[in-house]
């Protein structure tokens, strides 16, 4: 039967095939164990590095493949088909790497990007704090100049790959009274004096991803570690998130597809009332809605990613749409998959309960889906004001 043709190039198809192969051969066989033991997927990160996937979005001069947002979406969609905790660990490295790519000096790029592209060093992005979630401008971590150094104090919360990553791009206040314009980005390395990690958080899902606090206690870093200009930190964070959000949408698409596959497979072989339950319209209609929403989400995510790669500016609204629609779809599809598997779906013996637990975070991280709607709403107001 025909599938939607997204007109992938030969190289894009290679990325899909390779990421799919990794999901099937390396991720799916261990995902339940990683989830149960809350174990960081270090081995799989090595596989992804060997496959060159960490370098997808990084220019060739730094050892990458110079691909765009779209190729990144293709890769994470397939990896998410296997496990989104593993995929989040992979994607977090891009989230931490984008600021260096977008705002780094030539020296900073030359120093960090080759290691990021090869996967030798993982990166993490540190913005969120206990009192600064959706209201990211409320961050309280400070950075103060002291001769040739910056001295950082404060605590970052819920940082993906905290403790596991070697490189951290973080946002701290350098001029508190300036509000959002007083935030600046910095590169911190594991091992810097005064830099440590809090306890590992216990979560609802996303178990294989390490989520920890970053603790800065008079952390001294050399001056050249400032990323971008002083006061540019908030813009840097927003630009980074705008670029990364279609990827979160793609993770939602991959996860939802995996849940649909499980649900259809089960509905075809589960016999009740002397027939497979897929013969019941109640089940058919659920599956039909799931499949249709997934395809719509995929088409939206791909279109937005391609628009970004074509050089669009001011695409916050589009990124937010891709993220909100695809991740709401993932939540609904995984929930319905559990419903279709019934009692079995609720058991840990089947993969859909993990998928449902994992899906929830997609509606929360990298900007809650409420914030996504704010972004879309504000953009609409602005667009229509110009008419």
């Amino acid at each position: 039967m025909a599938q939607v043709n997204y007109f992938l190039t030969e190289e894009q198809q290679m990325i899909v095939d390779l990421a799919r192969q990794i999901a099937i051969e390396k991720i799916i066989p261990v995902r339940a164990e990683l989830d149960r033991e809350e174990r960081f997927p270090a081995e799989i990160m090595k596989d992804l590095a060997q496959a060159d996937l960490f370098g997808l979005y990084i220019p060739e001069e730094y050892g990458g493949l110079a691909k765009g947002c779209f190729e990144n979406c293709l890769a994470v969609e397939q990896l998410a088909y296997g496990c989104i905790a593993v995929t989040t660990t992979f994607a977090a490295s891009a989230l931490g790497g984008y600021p260096i790519l977008l705002f780094g000096s030539d020296e900073q790029k030359a120093r960090y990007l080759p290691d990021i592209a090869s996967g030798r060093r993982l990166v993490a992005f540190g913005l969120t704090e206990a009192n600064a979630g959706s209201d990211a401008a409320r961050i309280q971590t400070t950075a103060v100049e002291d001769g040739d150094y910056w001295v950082i104090n404060g605590t970052k919360q819920w940082i993906t790959s905290g403790g596991e990553a070697e490189i951290y791009t973080i946002i701290a206040m350098t001029d508190k009274k300036k509000g959002p314009r007083g935030a600046t980005a910095f590169i911190v390395e594991k091992g810097d004096p005064g830099f440590g990690f809090g306890k590992k958080e216990r979560k609802m899902g996303l178990m294989a991803s390490s989520t920890r606090e970053l603790l800065f206690n008079d952390c001294r870093i050399p001056k050249w570690r400032m990323l971008g200009n002083r006061g540019q930190g908030f813009i840097l964070a927003m630009k980074t998130l705008d670029l990364a959000r279609p990827g979160i949408g793609a993770i939602g698409v991959g996860l939802a597809q995996a849940a649909l596959d499980e649900a259809v497979k089960y509905a075809r072989q589960r016999i009740q009332f002397d027939q497979p339950i897929i013969s019941f319209q109640a089940i058919q209609h659920m599956l039909a809605d799931m499949a249709t929403k997934i395809e719509a989400a995929r088409a939206l995510v791909y279109s937005v990613a391609r628009t970004i790669d074509a050089g669009a500016r001011d695409f916050a609204k589009l990124s937010a749409m891709a993220k909100v629609f695809a991740t709401d779809t993932a939540m609904q599809v995984t929930t319905d998959a559990v419903q279709i598997l019934g009692g079995y779906g609720y058991m840990k013996d089947y993969p859909v309960e993990k998928m449902m637990r994992d899906a929830k975070v997609l509606q929360i991280y990298e900007g809650t889906n409420q914030i996504m709607r704010n972004i879309i709403g504000k953009a609409l107001n602005k667009e229509y004001a110009k008419r």
Binding site: E11, L18, Q21, K26, D47, A51, D52, L65
Partner: protein
């Protein structure tokens, strides 16, 4: 170290099936893949190259589509691939195959190490490795399950699996090894490797390029003739034995004797 890895393209075991009437493998529309043991041979070659330097050459004899297997080897990290393909090579048994492979390796110049899978999963003869070593006049160690290259980069310590244990073997290059699946875990392809593999030129050598004697290749050079192939019929029956454990054992022994198993 210059390393040649011999690879064979075989039908994918996940999709292969038999034509019971004709007694042959159904090959049409079946995906082909690298013989799984050969992937372990390739991985061994890549690991040695990554430490010792040199190059890994993937060598395959087969129809033109065997080029796909060589491209896969390139995507995994082989430096180059050479396809031995000629209508005259068709129908080769292991004698003709080893002759053809040996001609190609001679043509490549000095080679330090030849690696093969323990056997191919379609023919299952396990003869090509030892036969090739004989023709090349180099030592052969079969069924290698561990491998260590010593610091002199000439001596290797190997473990060869036997029926009741293993032999520890020291061998100096040049040598030929056939490897077990337990030797290593084949790596995944890389994106850069895949992109490179797609563009790579794969030379095709035939009878002429190899300077081979036409009577020694393919069907002409193969004393082995397959007279017929048949698919064994499997019949599954089930019988539950009941009663006391002693009674069940007696009944079971009687059944096995009846069936000629005991």
């Amino acid at each position: 170290m210059n390393i040649v890895v011999c690879i064979k393209q075989v039908p994918d075991t996940k999709s292969v099936h038999f034509d019971i009437e004709r007694g042959t493998l159904v090959r049409e529309g079946i995906e082909a893949t690298i013989n799984p043991f050969d992937l372990h041979a390739l991985e061994a070659g890549l690991q040695i190259r990554d430490v010792c330097g040199g190059e890994v050459i993937a060598l395959s004899m087969g129809p033109p589509q065997a080029e796909d297997a060589l491209r896969e080897a390139l995507s995994l990290g082989a430096d180059r691939g050479i396809l031995l393909s000629d209508r005259a090579f068709a129908g080769a048994d292991t004698l003709a195959t080893t002759y053809t492979l040996a001609r190609a390796i001679d043509r490549l110049g000095p080679v330090d190490l030849v690696l093969c899978g323990r056997q191919a999963i379609d023919g299952d003869t396990a003869q090509v490795g030892p036969g090739l070593a004989t023709r090349l006049g180099i030592p052969c160690v079969t069924s290698v399950s561990t491998l260590e290259v010593l610091d002199d980069r000439k001596t290797m310590h190997l473990r060869r699996v036997c029926e009741e244990g293993y032999d520890l073997i020291e061998v100096e290059i040049p040598a030929l090894l056939t490897v077990m699946a337990s030797l290593n875990t084949p790596r995944l392809p890389s994106l850069k490797g895949k992109i490179r593999a797609r563009k790579a030129e794969i030379p095709v050598w035939g009878v002429q390029e190899l300077g081979a004697e036409p009577g020694r290749v393919g069907l002409m050079g193969s004393p082995t003739q397959v007279v017929s192939t048949s698919v064994p019929k499997f019949e599954a029956r089930r019988e539950m034995l009941e009663g006391s454990p002693e009674g069940q054992v007696e009944a079971l022994v009687a059944r096995l004797k009846e069936a000629g198993v005991l």
